[in-house]
């Protein structure tokens, strides 16, 4: 009896020691993002933002040696599942991050949860994961996808705009976006246009908008579509006539390609380069210095993600093997976000601010976005009520 308990005690001690050593060794992070294809710039920003935060922490997030493995999801859910599974099973990652697009996020939610890997999304925030399919393994550090649209709807409502015309691509996220907008905008929608994905020329839609004579036009067209639309809208001389509001359309990545055509248009976002807080000033300066290009919100969100992991690891004393303790540390994480105030809601999505940005041309000819006001303070997404969060 005595012998047995000694053996058990020894085994437990050895087990603990080995466990503690493993914990003290390193935290392993898979950064799965989009690095090829037309939208590769977004993934590049996410990768660089994350790397900057790891570098600032001296390669040790939360004081623990941090190993980041970067993979390219090619914006293909099937590829993403394979890579996530490989990272989880073979590379034994503790955390998966980097995912920009919602279809990729939906695909890797299952393989990460099954392997008891935390999936911390720096951008993708599909409604399912904020609501019915919320999971203790999933965190979003940016937004629920509808939120920037809700913010702009709220802004136009507050401004007393009566009639709008809406444009979004003809796929699920496009419809979700405009529904999000209409959730907070109560005026008249004169028309909705759903051009097909990757449509190049918007002359037809722009002619319709001109003829409809709305007070404002609201546009959600990401990547190249947004660049094309904004430029063609300006070429049609409509920017001054019918103000253009947008989200995910004009940002730090697309702005150089849009150029002066974006001047005088408004955007909603959770972050901007000029946000006046210490963390952001430091981030923007360090990012420009290290990479020699301007950060976008994607870089900022990914930078925030790394610094959030850093803070959570500090709270657990650098341990991530105790998943429950790390999850608790994440939910209550305290860190200086570059976006301003930050906290997690009950569905592991953020409670944060949304800002109104205007694109202007400075006296020296440089086109840039400036923050005009805070539209929403401490905004929560529309789906958290549907989430019944389970324990780990």
């Amino acid at each position: 009896m005595k012998l047995k308990s000694i053996i058990a005690a020894t085994a437990a001690t050895v087990g603990l020691t080995v466990g503690a050593m493993a914990q003290a060794q390193e935290v392993r992070i898979g950064l799965l993002t989009t690095l090829t294809g037309p939208l590769a710039a977004l993934g590049q920003h996410a990768r660089d933002g994350f790397a900057l935060a790891v570098e600032e922490a001296g390669g040790k997030l939360g004081g623990v040696t941090t190993k980041v493995m970067v993979e390219d999801d090619q914006l293909r859910p099937d590829v993403a599942v394979q890579l996530a599974t490989k990272l989880a099973e073979r590379e034994k990652i503790d955390i998966l991050t980097g995912v920009i697009f919602s279809n990729v996020a939906m695909a890797v939610v299952k393989p990460t949860a099954e392997n008891r890997v935390f999936f911390i999304s720096p951008n993708a925030g599909p409604s399912a994961l904020a609501g019915k399919q919320c999971s203790p393994w999933f965190y979003s550090t940016a937004w629920q996808n509808d939120q920037p649209h809700e913010a702009m709807g709220a802004h136009l409502q507050a401004e007393g705009v009566k009639k709008v015309y809406l444009v979004a691509p003809n796929y699920n996220a496009g419809k979700d976006a405009l529904n999000g907008f209409k959730r907070s905008f109560k005026g008249t929608v004169l028309g909705e246009s759903y051009p097909s994905m990757n449509q190049l020329d918007f002359a037809a839609e722009i002619s319709q908008i001109r003829a409809a004579k709305p007070d404002a036009v609201y546009v959600f067209l990401s990547g190249g579509m947004g660049i094309n639309f904004t430029r063609q809208y300006a070429q049609a001389r409509l920017t001054g006539e019918i103000p253009m509001y947008s989200a995910f359309t004009v940002d730090a990545i697309t702005l150089p390609a849009v150029g002066e055509a974006a001047v005088g248009t408004f955007q909603s976002n959770l972050w901007n380069e000029d946000l006046d807080n210490a963390a952001n000033r430091r981030f923007v300066a360090a990012f420009k210095k290290k990479y020699d290009y301007l950060p976008s919100n994607y870089a900022a969100q990914s930078y925030d993600t790394a610094r959030m992991i850093d803070a959570a690891l500090r709270a657990t004393g650098g341990k991530i093997n105790d998943k429950k303790a790390f999850a608790a540390a994440m939910r209550n994480v305290k860190f200086d976000s570059v976006r301003g105030p930050f906290a997690f809601n009950s569905n592991n999505f953020p409670i944060g601010n949304f800002y109104l940005l205007e694109t202007i041309k400075r006296a020296d000819g440089k086109v840039e976005q400036v923050t005009r006001k805070t539209i929403l303070t401490g905004a929560k997404d529309a789906y958290f009520g549907e989430c019944r969060m389970e324990g780990l």
Partner: protein
């Protein structure tokens, strides 16, 4: 009323852009019997070259000339290195290989120009709009119509009135026969490929001020171009013109008049209908 007129003008302009792409591709497919999926990549190359040369020379016209010439050279290079050995192989091999060119050149463009989209501005003298029956229409879009119409006219003259055009038509209707008659088919192929590349580059750089210049920009244009080539009849420039205008106008009008979803498929319905009644397209070159 003026809205309908404006939309027709939009359709015409879109159709003329498609024609620039389709005229080159229909010659390559028709004369060489070579399926060139990389045609869209040449469109992208034209836009990237134009942006670069505009930065280097500071002149829009010089950039246009240099970009068209460089893309024609790139086309010749592709023809010499990759297409030539594939002429005798079946279409599947050609599709696989030219698809490989798309992937390769897309990544090469990313290495050279980066993944962030670039911008090309229209020259100041084409900026602005003119009043057409009460609508302010962008001058640049009218310029696209004018340039494309000039190209169409030039192609018409070359193809119907010159010896070269006769050879091209002969090549499109019976390749074996013109080889048998002692025509230097190698030279003809190289020339047609280069002209096709130049036209694609022209389409790409004309579109550049309207669009984001970025990796993969040619891939979506390629699909519409193939639709135009098939509707027009492979090998027929005349067919390509008619089909391009048809697709441009029907797509534009369909998008704004039909319910969401239907507008986007209307040209594919058109293609299916035309192929049902005329399986070889509107103007088959070797009928």
């Amino acid at each position: 009323m003026s809205l309908i007129f404006e939309q027709l003008l939009n359709g015409l302009q879109f159709g003329m852009m498609l024609f620039l792409m389709a005229s080159g591709l229909t010659l390559v497919v028709g004369i060489m019997n070579f399926i060139n999926l990389a045609h869209g990549t040449l469109y992208m190359a034209g836009a990237f070259f134009a942006v670069t040369f505009q930065l280097l020379t500071g002149s829009y016209l010089a950039a246009v000339g240099l970009a068209v010439a460089s893309t024609a050279l790139l086309g010749l290079l592709i023809e010499f290195l990759i297409a030539q050995p594939l002429y005798k192989r079946d279409h599947l091999d050609q599709v696989l290989c030219t698809f490989g060119i798309i992937l390769f050149l897309n990544e090469l463009a990313r290495v050279i120009w980066g993944s962030a989209p670039l911008r090309m501005d229209a020259p100041v003298w084409l900026d602005g709009s003119v009043d057409l029956a009460g609508i302010a229409y962008p001058v640049y879009r009218l310029a696209i119509i004018a340039v494309s119409a000039a190209v169409a006219l030039a192609l018409y003259v070359v193809i119907t009135k010159t010896r070269l055009g006769m050879l091209i038509r002969a090549g499109a209707s019976d390749r074996t026969m013109i080889v048998g008659l002692g025509v230097n088919i190698q030279l003809l192929y190289g020339l047609v490929f280069a002209v096709g590349a130049a036209l694609a580059a022209l389409a790409g750089l004309l579109a550049a001020p309207l669009l984001a210049v970025q990796v993969g920009m040619g891939d979506h244009v390629l699909i519409l171009t193939l639709v135009v080539v098939v509707i027009g009849g492979v090998g027929s420039v005349q067919g390509a013109l008619l089909a391009a205008l048809l697709v441009g106008v029907i797509d534009t009008v369909g998008r704004v008049t039909l319910p969401t979803g239907f507008g986007n498929i209307v040209i594919y319905v058109l293609m299916a209908m035309i192929l049902f009644w005329r399986p070889r397209g509107l103007f088959p070159s070797n009928a």
